[in-house]
Symmetry: C2
Subunit: 138 residues, 2 copies
DNA sequence: GATCGCAGGTCTCAATTAGGGACCTTTCGA
DNA sequence: TCGAAAGGTCCCTAATTGAGACCTGCGATC
């Protein structure tokens, strides 16, 4: 497993944070950031987080909001997010029982950088499309 | 294809930007943001961007920095990033010819929100690990 | 009192995608 | 004459994903 290089994280407090990791002793072949980043940026987890952001949603509601996700992938994405502490799963004792997924505090905190990234993409999408068009013309 | 919901992007200028897209007329089943976001957050592209960030790198150099990437995936990741206008590919007429990959202006701009996300993960990794441990105990 | 529908899943199988590694091309040096 | 190096491509296998049938338990329907 490749480790994120120190220099990636920029100057100042970021460097300090990395120095701290190394002091704690971590295995460069098992980078702790990557295992989290991979799950956070996985195809469906980003979309799920965006859906759940404004208000808690239930399983079948998510299935309807994300028409091209399969039940299997939705289940797995929700489990991953729950396991990572970003989503809370609440079962309601109704007939039939309902299950609601909501952001945790940690999940809510994540939305700040995540929305910034989504917003950057939204703001720059024309540049990207232009580039793709030029590239595909060759 | 699922479209990112308007509410995802928060208030103010973000909403305005989405309103602008809709005015331009876009197909909700072919969301333009997702097709970009999927490529930017794909497993290897993030790592490649982080590697190339500080200084241009060559193909085999990247292969060495990312020990667990395959040649095939590196090639494909580099092509995607080039196509999206985030990376510039430069061939040097040496013997044998060398190829260098560098961030474009657009790519450099992307690093701001992308590094913020990486940094969030780095800062909060212990919380995530704690949550995983608790989840796995059940 | 059979059956339909719903909620929230699981399971199986087929299709897509990723990884491993051999192979290619050109040129230099031993 | 052989090997190495750079930057890939190609093929085959392994892993991941997606489509969709099925499950469970209960309440309402006919």
């Amino acid at each position: 497993m490749t480790t994120l290089p120190e220099s990636n994280l920029g100057a100042g407090s970021r460097r300090a944070r990395i120095a701290a990791w190394q002091a704690e002793g971590f295995d460069p072949h098992n980078c702790p950031v990557r295992s989290i980043l991979d799950q956070i940026t996985a195809k469906w987890t980003v979309l799920i987080l965006l859906e759940v952001q404004e208000e808690p949603k239930r399983f079948n509601m998510l299935l309807r909001s994300l028409p091209d996700i399969s039940r299997r992938m939705l289940t797995q994405g929700l489990r991953d997010l729950e396991r990572n502490g970003l989503l809370r799963r609440t079962v309601f004792d109704t007939r039939p029982p309902g299950v609601e997924y909501a952001l945790t505090e940690l999940g809510r905190a994540l939305m700040t950088p995540l929305l910034a990234l989504v917003d950057w993409v939204a703001a720059n999408r024309e540049s990207v499309y232009d580039s793709r068009r030029r590239f595909d013309e060759q």
